[in-house]
């Protein structure tokens, strides 16, 4: 079946990485149109009409975010592209930047024009250094062709675009931490307000958008916001890149029209191709490591018994006890042999490692969660540890200055909520718990036999 591809239609064509190939396939038309035929506010209006929501994870409406940019002073304004992509399970922006870098550059130019920005930065995680070189080459090509620099395409609009490497800190994906990092400091998030749109980079009005979000802008300008809004389902408009991984036959990045049933996404040959080795599906993290895990019974159906769809609304249906989030689209699939306690410990270790240490609940709490989960996984757990874990995560959630605390708490809360019996089993069967090789699935017993 042929599906609409807004971002990835030409991604497999090798020539698309260079500017000539990109132009051959219709590239930079949006810049021409925006700069020569539209006013900046008209571009923002089209983005508003499109219903585009930020693709980094939070899903905030992009056009609305742009409209918050403070115009009440004559300070420079900045657009920062968040290419930090550090959410475990998420590897979609990497594909765009590696294969079709000019799409991001075109989106940055058009978006900067809309926002009245004269200098923009792409903040890319330092580990993606090889992609940084690809982006730099593309930026150089864009300057040479007159799409960047002074008086772009003979208009009065000028823009400088730079790529800036991070240093390997997950927290720098949080917009205010990213700003701090770009200012040459530790990536400690700032208290909001003031929001970056008012006081961001170097105290100037700043908008921070994810790579995928920016890459949607050329389509919206070329085809119109309404056309984009008619794709997808309900308030989940357009397409979304989903990076699928874990125990599936076909891991990779897929562009879907929002609204595809989760069951179809997991089992159809067009997407994940089913569970590897013909095993049973045990659990799913649909939107990156921070979003709540869903157990088998809630993956394909919502709590109301309706088909679960790949959309912002459907994945969160029912609120916390029965829902999750579309998040960044980091789709992690677990087969029947995987150990939820081990996975939760692994994610807690990640969050402990990556906490910036600024807020006590997060700095201390992530470490406590990791330690408790470690002893449960390695056969030294106590039954009261489960309630202690619950208590610790409750004390982190909502009590930190940035969403990192929530991100560390939600995976623990959801794991206990849906898999409490498995935590209890670990406490009651310490010897078996330490012997089980869930990672490779060789000696694991079917989870159905694991009872307290």
């Amino acid at each position: 079946m042929s599906r609409l591809k807004i971002l990835t239609e030409h991604i497999d064509k090798p020539e698309i990485t260079g500017i000539e190939g990109y132009i051959k396939h219709g590239g930079y038309r949006a810049v021409e149109k925006a700069l020569k035929k539209m006013q900046p506010d008209e571009v923002t209006e089209e983005v508003k009409k499109s219903g585009l929501r930020g693709r980094g994870g939070a899903g905030f409406p992009t056009g609305m975010k742009w409209s918050f940019i403070f115009k009440g002073n004559d300070k420079p304004r900045y657009l920062l592209c968040n290419a930090d992509e550090s959410e475990p399970g998420t590897f979609k922006d990497r594909l765009l930047m590696e294969k079709i870098p000019h799409l991001l550059i075109e989106g940055m130019i058009a978006s900067s024009f809309a926002l009245g920005v004269k200098t923009a930065y792409i903040y890319i995680r330092g580990e993606y250094m090889y992609i940084l070189h690809i982006l730099q080459k593309a930026i150089d090509e864009a300057y040479a062709k007159g799409y960047l620099g002074e008086n772009i395409l003979g208009t009065t609009y000028s823009l400088d675009l730079h790529v800036h490497p991070g240093g390997g800190a997950y927290i720098c994906g949080e917009e205010t931490a990213l700003i701090e990092s770009l200012e040459g400091k530790r990536g400690n998030p700032r208290i909001k307000p003031p929001f970056p749109a008012v006081e961001g980079l170097w105290g100037c009005p700043t908008i921070v958008n994810n790579v995928e979000t920016i890459c949607k802008v050329p389509f919206i300008i070329n085809e119109g916001g309404e056309t984009y809004a008619n794709i997808g389902i309900g308030a989940s408009t357009g397409t979304k890149l989903i990076s699928a991984c874990g125990n599936i036959n076909k891991p990779g990045v897929y562009e879907i029209e929002l609204g595809v049933p989760v069951e179809e996404f997991i089992y159809s040959d067009e997407y994940c191709g089913g569970i590897k080795g013909g095993k049973q599906l045990k659990a799913l993290v649909p939107g990156g490591s921070s979003v709540p895990i869903l157990p088998n019974r809630l993956i394909t159906k919502t709590a109301k018994g309706e088909p679960r769809l790949m959309s912002y609304e459907s994945l969160s249906d029912g609120g916390f006890p029965t829902g999750s989030m579309l998040g960044s689209g980091g789709f992690i699939v677990f087969d029947e042999d995987q150990c939820i306690v081990r996975n939760t410990w692994n994610f807690s270790r990640f969050y402990h490692h990556e906490s910036c240490g600024q807020c006590s609940p997060c700095r201390e709490g992530t470490g406590w969660m990791e330690k408790i989960l470690h002893r449960m996984e390695y056969g030294h757990g106590r039954m009261e540890d489960i309630d202690l874990l619950w208590d610790v995560q409750r004390k982190i959630e909502g009590n930190t200055i940035c969403p990192f605390g929530d991100a560390s708490a939600w995976p623990v809360a959801a794991a206990i909520r849906h898999f409490r019996d498995e935590f209890e089993w670990h406490v009651l069967h310490p010897a078996e718990a330490t012997r089980r090789n869930y990672g490779m699935g060789r000696s694991a017993e079917p989870i159905e036999q694991v009872t307290a």
Partner: protein
């Protein structure tokens, strides 16, 4: 093992630093810390206190301002490392497809533990958190290159390749 001797960038590198500084507004040169630390690590092998002091002087900022940044970001090696730093991702999705076994195999093959360097200074094993290759694990990063879908056989090939590179002039 690469040692930090003669802490001075080459003229070419200094020109690169000047280009970097132009990306940021006047007086905001501190923003170039991370790009310059990356260059310093490439040239000097690791980020010693002397390297940090040198970067601070290049940027005309306090030494402490570089210390607090270099110690925050995990990509900077604050101790000497081997010529090839084998950074194996150990986070969730990579663990699901066997990263634990890859680390064990590397430790066994090189007779060192996570965080250690081989006596010949050729390899350091370092487990790291998510590298954004979740669909292609298990994986490791060596320098700027990602090595994905690792198996024991693939590890053997890679180690052999690194050893051969080391013997070439």
């Amino acid at each position: 093992m690469i040692e930090t001797t003669n802490i001075t960038f080459s003229p070419e590198r200094l020109a690169e630093v000047q280009t970097l500084l132009k990306r940021y507004p006047e007086g905001k040169q501190k923003s170039a810390i991370l790009p310059i630390l990356h260059l310093a690590q490439k040239d000097f092998g690791w980020i010693s206190v002397e390297v940090m002091d040198y970067v601070a002087e290049l940027l005309d900022i306090q030494h402490i301002e570089v210390y607090e940044v270099a110690t925050f970001y995990t990509m900077f090696h604050l101790k000497p490392v081997g010529k090839n730093v084998l950074e194996v991702c150990r986070t969730g999705p990579c663990m699901l497809v066997g990263s634990d076994n890859i680390v064990k195999y590397l430790e066994q093959k090189l007779s060192i533990q996570d965080g250690e360097t081989t006596p010949d200074g050729l390899f350091t094993i370092k487990t790291v958190e998510c590298l954004g290759a979740c669909g292609y694990g298990p994986m490791m990063q060596v320098g700027e290159k990602y090595h994905e879908f690792l198996s024991e056989e693939r590890i053997d090939q890679l180690l052999e390749g690194f050893r051969q590179n080391a013997t070439q002039p």
